[in-house]
């Protein structure tokens, strides 16, 4: 497939591996965080780690929206789904994340709740149009990639007067999460970041310039194909060697400095910053998430329905929090591969197609390391 196959060519991968091995300074340790779960999965799927010299260590970041959503928000979604007359729509990954008492949306559905998986916000709108006697709630999650489509849906519902549609908004912001990781007092020391691919199509490379300037960390925006990631690692090694800390763009075929202005304007029309939002692993992070503006309050499920946010406990022994901060690896968790597997996940990092634990488990690379 065009723009995919070319970025997976083996000879070029070997070439880049040799270049990285040649570029690293012997005796120096390079620790880079790939923020996105999409990058983590590509690294494991294609064995990128095995192509890197021992000097380069990749630390997996919190860029997995399903993983970072706290149990209390999942409990709220389950409570909404269990209300009489509600159809709760969400993206596929959300269905299997266990909430309190290990009740997931999928279990709520088995017990009779009307929970539906959608591919797009447009599907959720259509469900609302087709079921005028019932309330359709879209459980919205995700970083800046899924946020503009939610904004579009809210504006469409407003224009159509679709009174039985609302959004349970859990959209979160990438730069706030990066800042939180850098601000953590006992943070894992990092030499730089492989920056998000598709989030950056929306927010642009300029959104990361503060990290280069304020924290002196290089950031290289990279596509999700294996050669993209290897090229970005090479660029990070070179920046580290030269003592530079700049934002560089490996994914120039899809990302520009300003990002997608149209999408940014749309988000700003519909959403505003939440003063604080709870993240799994990162705790309460200021200005890190979005809520629906007053003008669109009629479409805000948190205002329409009375669903209390109650504190919830993490599953005992689950290390998702430390893994999301980059402080632990999946193999450091006692539950990993024993009672927690993709078929029977305990923590969110094992559920999502972007979670670190699922990446470790699914591609089986940890087995060779034992």
């Amino acid at each position: 497939m065009k723009y995919i196959d070319e970025f997976r060519q083996k000879p070029l991968g070997k070439n880049l591996a040799a270049s990285i091995a040649d570029a690293v300074e012997k005796g120096r340790h390079y620790r880079f965080m790939e923020f996105c779960g999409g990058h983590t999965h590509a690294i494991f799927r294609y064995g990128v780690q095995d192509l890197l010299p021992p000097e380069v260590e990749m630390v997996h970041g919190p860029g997995c929206p399903v993983c970072v959503l706290p149990i209390s928000r999942i409990d709220q979604a389950v409570a909404l789904a269990e209300m009489e007359g509600i159809i709760l729509c969400t993206y596929a990954d959300m269905l299997r994340v266990p909430g309190s008492g290990r009740v997931s949306l999928s279990k709520a559905r088995a017990a009779g709740a009307d929970v539906r998986m959608v591919y797009s916000t447009q599907d959720a709108l259509q469900i609302a149009r087709d079921n005028p006697d019932r309330q359709t709630v879209f459980f919205a999650i995700g970083f800046e990639t899924t946020t503009p489509p939610t904004a579009v849906a809210i504006q469409q519902a407003s224009q159509e007067g679709l009174r039985n549609f609302s959004v349970f908004c859990n959209h979160v912001l990438t730069p706030a999460a990066i800042r939180s990781i850098l601000d953590t007092p006992d943070a894992v020391p990092l030499d730089g970041f492989v920056g998000p691919a598709h989030v950056s199509t929306v927010i642009g490379t300029k959104a990361y310039e503060c990290f280069a300037a304020d924290f002196h960390k290089p950031v290289v925006i990279a596509g999700f194909e294996p050669l993209d990631i290897m090229q970005a690692i090479l660029m990070l090694v070179r920046q580290t060697n030269e003592g530079r800390h700049e934002v560089e763009n490996e994914y120039a075929r899809a990302v520009i400095r300003d990002g997608n202005i149209k999408a940014q304007e749309l988000m700003a029309e519909v959403f505003e910053l939440r003063p604080s939002f709870e993240w799994r692993g990162l705790g309460a992070v200021a200005d890190s998430a979005l809520s629906i503006r007053e003008e669109y309050a009629d479409f805000d499920a948190e205002k329409r329905f009375d669903v209390e946010l109650r504190p919830a406990k993490e599953i005992r022994g689950c290390e998702c929090g430390a893994i999301l901060r980059g402080q632990k690896k999946p193999l450091d968790c006692k539950l990993f591969g024993t009672i927690c597997t993709p078929d029977n996940p305990m923590g969110s990092c094992m559920v999502s197609a972007e979670g670190s634990c699922a990446a470790y488990y699914s591609y089986g690379r940890f087995r060779g390391a034992e």
Partner: protein, 73 residues
């Protein structure tokens, strides 16, 4: 969640487009992008085009992979 795929635009109808990915066709929304024509490749995510792929930049990046190498192919 942020995984998105490059797909070729084969038809445009107002704010909607039909894209083709290895022969599989799908209708997506173009409301988030500007200046997309038939034949362009767009990054498709949850039913929306998020950005238009720049063929020249793609070629430049591929050239970078090859030239960066210390191995000669």
């Amino acid at each position: 969640m942020c995984l998105a795929i490059p797909a070729e635009v084969v038809a445009i109808n107002g704010d909607m487009a039909t894209v083709s990915l290895d022969g599989v066709q799908k209708d997506i929304s173009l409301v988030l992008v500007e200046g997309v024509s038939v034949g362009d490749y767009v990054i498709v995510h949850v039913g929306f085009a998020l950005s238009r792929l720049d063929p020249e930049e793609a070629a430049a990046t591929l050239a970078l992979f090859a030239e960066a190498g210390v191995l000669k192919s």
